[in-house]
Subunit: 260 residues, 2 copies
């Protein structure tokens, strides 16, 4: 229809290539069918990078059936042993969350999640993490994220299937591009001079900081409480660039040399 | 979680009753499983009014299985012989469309569809019509609609399952209400557990950090370059709360004690 022609024209006026930089990560998935549903949901919206962290069962006929022709996404899916392997090259990591947190974490709705992701994806990899069908993500897994995203649901019935959740998140990614107007494509409102630190680089900084905190006897490894979680949350929220991380690590190294 | 508590509180601050006035109409559905998936998708977002126009097969065990507990929506579903019966009491009728039309029709994206629907639902019934799995809606059926809605998809692969389509449309309905009167008074989208540090407290932290950077001989006061500016930018961006600033200052004090 004219309307669909319009849609298609609209679409082709945008570049959707950045969607290649947006990765869907599924952690410890129980049902292979859900992996197929995820592949289909992703492909309908133009996403293709699927990473599976320790799936309980391998991709099988059920996955292929549910993927309904999105088999290329299934075939290209990477299986990795740990979440760190899945996100180490990502500049932005967002975890889906619906459970109680020990301390609050910056929370986005799916629309904000998509806007943030699409912006970042123009220059760097982005990972959206989905947890187990029954228990979601652990606190440790959620603490690795810059932000959390929560899909609003009916409080009396929030049984959102993981495939449906991936459909909603992927749909918002496509909408963010469809609706994006040129100009506001800058993460901090200005052209930034450096790339964001990767998740792995940020982990390196946090670990380095922890060592110094222990050496200085500020942190008792026997009784860390939530101190490191708060530090991790602070740095995740700031989304440091590579130079900022390097400066900080330089400071920590200089400090360590001075310890008696 | 705090965030979910917030979500729930947020939600209960809104009235979602108007969702009772938004009807999902499925025309000539072939697979009973899709009717179950529709019920589940609707209920997760708070919709409950499902009308089936001449389904090819009756609601069956497959429907109930796929509805995953949203059986109340299935049991309440009305089966009618014609589309007119399904929409006669509706003030706004929107048809999902993806096929070429003989003449163009006012087209909404799912977000505009939701805004329009929620607005109208405060006073009148609204119907969103979904067509056959294979052929969608006929021209005559689409001509009965005030507007058409098109879910943007990947032009190379637009195989959006009808349950997924209903999930996206229903999600947008809920989002339209969530965002309509949501007081965006939460900096990070959740109830934060601490106040933000004051500008003075932040200055105190930066100065303290600078002293340690100089003592550790990382920073040359004679030639500071832009290092402190970058540090200041990083902490300003993170907008630390009072506890985070105190923890950091505690670390710096502990470090200073260790210097030889």
């Amino acid at each position: 229809m004219k309307s669909v022609d319009t849609e298609v024209t609209t679409s082709s006026n945008h570049t959707f290539e950045m969607l290649d930089n947006i990765r869907i990560v599924m952690v410890n998935t129980t049902h292979p069918g859900n992996i197929g549903a995820a592949a289909r949901a992703m492909k309908t919206m133009g996403l293709s990078d699927l990473v599976l962290v320790e799936p309980k069962k391998a991709i099988d006929d059920e996955s292929i059936a549910r993927s309904s022709g999105a088999t290329d996404v299934l075939e290209a899916a990477r299986i990795v042993p740990t979440l760190d392997d899945a996100i180490e090259d990502c500049g932005l990591v967002i975890g889906t969350s619906a459970r109680s947190r020990s301390i609050p974490w910056p929370l986005l709705n799916p629309r904000q999640c998509a806007e943030q992701s699409v912006l970042t994806s123009k220059r760097q990899k982005v990972a959206i993490i989905f947890g187990r069908e029954d228990r979601g993500l652990t606190n440790d897994e959620l603490a690795k994220c810059n932000f959390h995203v929560h899909i609003p649901t009916n409080p009396e019935y929030s049984s959102l299937n993981i495939g449906a959740a991936i459909q909603v998140i992927s749909y918002e990614m496509r909408m963010a591009i469809e609706l994006s107007s040129k100009g506001d494509d800058q993460l901090w409102g200005v052209e930034w001079d450096r790339d964001l630190a990767s998740s792995k680089e940020l982990d390196g900084l946090i670990e380095h900081l922890e060592q110094v905190m222990i050496k200085s006897e500020f942190l008792d490894p026997e009784n860390p409480r939530y101190i490191m979680t708060r530090m991790r949350r602070l740095f995740n929220r700031a989304m440091p660039d590579k130079v900022e991380v390097n400066v900080f690590r330089g400071i920590l190294s200089a400090i360590s040399k001075k310890f008696n």
